[in-house]
């Protein structure tokens, strides 16, 4: 399936679960990505994003590993080495979506138990917000809300860049950020509306 977004007149196309935004890519003559630097500078954030997506340490590590394997194969095609982190995030997200489709298609694959919990999200807003509760509340959100929120919180990525990474229209990202936050705040404040 081909999904596409427009950003700054630039069309970004995913052609399959393992393809990447072509706007990140270019031919020969581009500055070369320093692979080891890309590991040292970004691996923690990439892993954390993967962790918030799949909520499982092993799966997150696998997703991160996959992203860097792809980077190793395709780094010469990356148009702008400064965007390598966004590129890695995009790879992680596409792979996660791909895997999630398979889980849905073959439900015998267990989804991490952590996502099933619902009683962890209690908090005390008059004092300090319970970090564990906040994390649990985030992890209870649906995938399509959790992904943009994770990027927003984890890496302070502007919503337009989030749209680019997730291959979504900017308006959709804005809407999902709002809905995600609303659900999160309601859960953290105990507001059930």
């Amino acid at each position: 399936m081909e999904a596409a977004i427009k950003r700054n007149q630039e069309r970004i196309t995913f052609t399959s679960g393992e393809d990447f935004p072509r706007s990140f890519l270019m031919g020969n003559g581009a500055p070369v990505v320093d692979l080891e630097k890309a590991v040292r500078d970004h691996y923690k954030d990439i892993y954390r994003f993967a962790m918030h997506l799949c909520r499982n340490q092993d799966d997150a590590a696998d997703l991160t590993q996959f992203a860097y394997e792809q980077l190793t194969l395709k780094h010469r095609e990356i148009r702008n080495p400064e965007k390598v982190k966004s590129w890695l995030n995009a790879v992680v997200y596409r792979k996660f979506i791909d895997q999630r489709r398979k889980v849905i298609r073959f439900p015998s694959v267990p989804i991490d138990e952590e996502s099933a919990g619902s009683d962890a999200a209690t908090t005390n807003l008059s004092g300090k917000l319970d970090a564990k509760a906040a994390l649990a509340a985030l992890h209870e959100l649906e995938d399509d809300l959790r992904a943009p929120l994770s990027l927003f919180y984890l890496e302070s990525i502007p919503y337009k860049e989030i749209a680019r990474i997730l291959d979504l229209p900017v308006g959709t990202v804005m809407s999902r950020l709002y809905r995600g936050k609303a659900k999160l705040y309601n859960r953290l404040t105990g507001n059930t509306k």
Binding site: A38, R48, L71
Partner: protein, 265 residues
Amino acid sequence: MNKQRAKEILSTYMKDSSMETDPEVQQALDLAESDPELLEWMQLQAEVDPVLRDTLSDIPVPKDLEARLLETVRKESPTVASTRPPRRLRLVGWGIAATLLVSISTFWFLRQNEDIVQNLQHSVSGVSPDDFSHFRDGMAYYINDVYFRLDHITKDLDSIESWLSNRESPVYEDLPDALTALDPIGCKQLQWQGLDVSLVCFHTTDGRIVHLFLLDRDAATDSQFSGIDAVARSSGLETAGWVSPSTVYLLVGSDPSVDIEFALG
């Protein structure tokens, strides 16, 4: 701007970012100052978002992950830019190769099928050696205008003699010493006006080629070889011959610059 739209815009808002200069964000911020619900939303964001940001960033990362990833990227094969030529160039290359292959095949086929080539030549020029009533002119034309291959290639004159003899093709009796001193190249059987003709080729000392045609005297009429002992040009080539009791001989140079008189003895 309605309240819902303002909330969506404010949800994307990050303090101290370039968003503050965005007129739509500014409008939403202004609206929030006068709207209690939006104000509450902003306060909630201000309280919760930093905590979430810190919390999410505190997720522990496996200790060995960095090493594993570094190992992964170090495994990259030291490939350089592809040496494969561009697709267009490859297509041109394949085209040239195919053309060469077809050309070579055609050339090889034609070389193996002398009759086809001669028929082609005949159909193009409309002339064949048989059209000449005099042995000299027919053979000179043959050398000058007809593609042919030798049937038997050897430097041994005795071998040539026996090869021709075995095929009942005209054979020489006595050759001038000047001819026998040359290096033979080989021989060929051919037909001219229904008569068997033998062709024997020699390399001259200066690397040129002379051709000796042999015709059974009894098979031919006198008019076909009359005056053959005179040196004369035919088809631009120097020609001259002699007649023995059983054989008519005709010597023809391979090109206009070849002098054949030396061989006549």
